[in-house]
Symmetry: none
Subunit: 158 residues, 4 copies
């Protein structure tokens, strides 16, 4: 993917694909993200996910990097087929920016890169889920995406 660079109030942020050597820097962002949902996915699953995100298959990992080189945000994509299009859909499974880097360029740079990556993989849309009550996230999403009328139902299988 072409790198996406964006500067806002604060540091310049670059977004690039996740790499195997990012594991230690990726881990606290993943933990911060999952603990927001009060989830602990465990080390084994987390490392399995990390591995698949670096592999270049249907899962795609992107990271936002600040000037100095530190990881400040992550975006994880899932490419999948759709019955409504011959093109793929791109599901933005996870998005997280370190609390200290919020309000700057990181989240928008990640969205720019997500859209570029999805396009380059042949998707005609990107979609994501957010909790209806997550005002902080939604105020951003309203500026980079479109709210739909859809809600999510689920059934866990034994």
């Amino acid at each position: 993917m072409p790198e996406v660079e964006r500067s806002g109030s604060g540091a310049v942020v670059t977004v690039r694909p996740l790499r195997t050597e990012d594991l230690e820097a990726w881990r606290p962002l993943w933990r911060g993200y999952t603990s927001f949902y009060r989830a602990d996915l465990g080390d084994e699953l987390s490392e399995d996910t990390f591995g698949r995100l670096c592999e270049g298959g249907d899962l795609i990992g992107l990271v936002a990097v600040e000037d100095g080189g530190g990881l400040v945000g992550i975006a994880h994509l899932v490419m999948h087929a759709s019955t409504w299009s011959t093109a793929s859909s791109c599901y933005l499974n996870d998005l997280y920016v370190d609390p200290e880097s919020r309000g700057g360029a990181a989240a928008r740079a990640l969205f720019d890169a997500v859209y570029a990556e999805a396009r380059s993989r042949g998707a005609d849309r990107v979609y994501w889920h957010t909790q209806q009550f997550n005002g902080a996230a939604r105020s951003l999403y309203d500026t980079v995406g479109q709210l739909t009328s859809f809600i999510v139902y689920e059934r866990e299988l034994d």
Copy 2:
């Protein structure tokens, strides 16, 4: 997949995989479904989708068949990876029951079959989207699935 049979007030309904020879019977159900969303996907895309649903890849087509052999409902699944699990997720992309066959066993038989099929493909969850205001559908979904707090954002790509 094992066939799922279910009887309610009315005819016995069987759910089985979609087959190539179902095209003519599938078409009006697909058209009824897409026109509910005021969409017309066109013949070419519809036939491409139908073909992929019969192929046995990531798209899976299931049909509800009534006693006499007529198709009364369809369910289309998309299998995809997830960052939260090593198991797949199963997205129920489309579900439709012919208006004349509603209130009987068809919808529940389809859900039973969807869950069985998803499980047999290694998924640990099935999820689907519905318009927040679609009361008729939600009153069913409230009995076969779990409402979540999630809503859907989207970005169409040029």
Copy 3:
């Protein structure tokens, strides 16, 4: 309770307490109501509930009766304590009007009677739950009650 009488476009409707001899007339209304929620509570539970509604304890049954004497609606109340008041709360557990009698005086007569009954039992409030998407019911509720910002979470116990 004092009987509540109300006339609208159509028949005069009277609301009175449920009585043991109403069982056969109450049953189809109860069935119509529960099947709206796609539930079948079975004969045994239904008759147990009916019995408790006639007993004069914490459960209270009210019925709307049309001119000729036929039952056209039901309201079931549950009285319970509250930590926010020394007075009781009255939960309107079930409300149903026969589809053929809707748009007339029955529903409002039932609400009038519910409020009168709750007051006479020492309650300082009546509250009820409705599906967020039940537009037909909510358009009535907006005129006889107050929408709150509260939603309902639940946990079924094994």
Copy 4:
């Protein structure tokens, strides 16, 4: 009730029934809770409620106690009848954890104890209300209960 103990990141938390001697420690938690809803119920009503919570009738008080013995959370239950079951329903009327003790084990320990207590009193379900926009609470509730499609209407009686 059996005591429920739970440890998280931080102190071990035990949940036990509210006792008469807890009044002084309970009061600031009750005040913190009611002031969240911008309510001031007054001393008289508060003490009446406290008294009923200790009595062992339809109101049940539970408290979360940290290692050293301090009260850090409260849960107040109301048992009541239902028309949909011969079993009771348990309404979780109030739940509060001291802000300084949030993010630890207290809230989950309280839910564990609420479910155990409700079960031991013969309830087949626990339910509660929360403001639709209360994200902090809902992100917890999404992990310990099920969101429903129900909203709450109310009528205050003179």
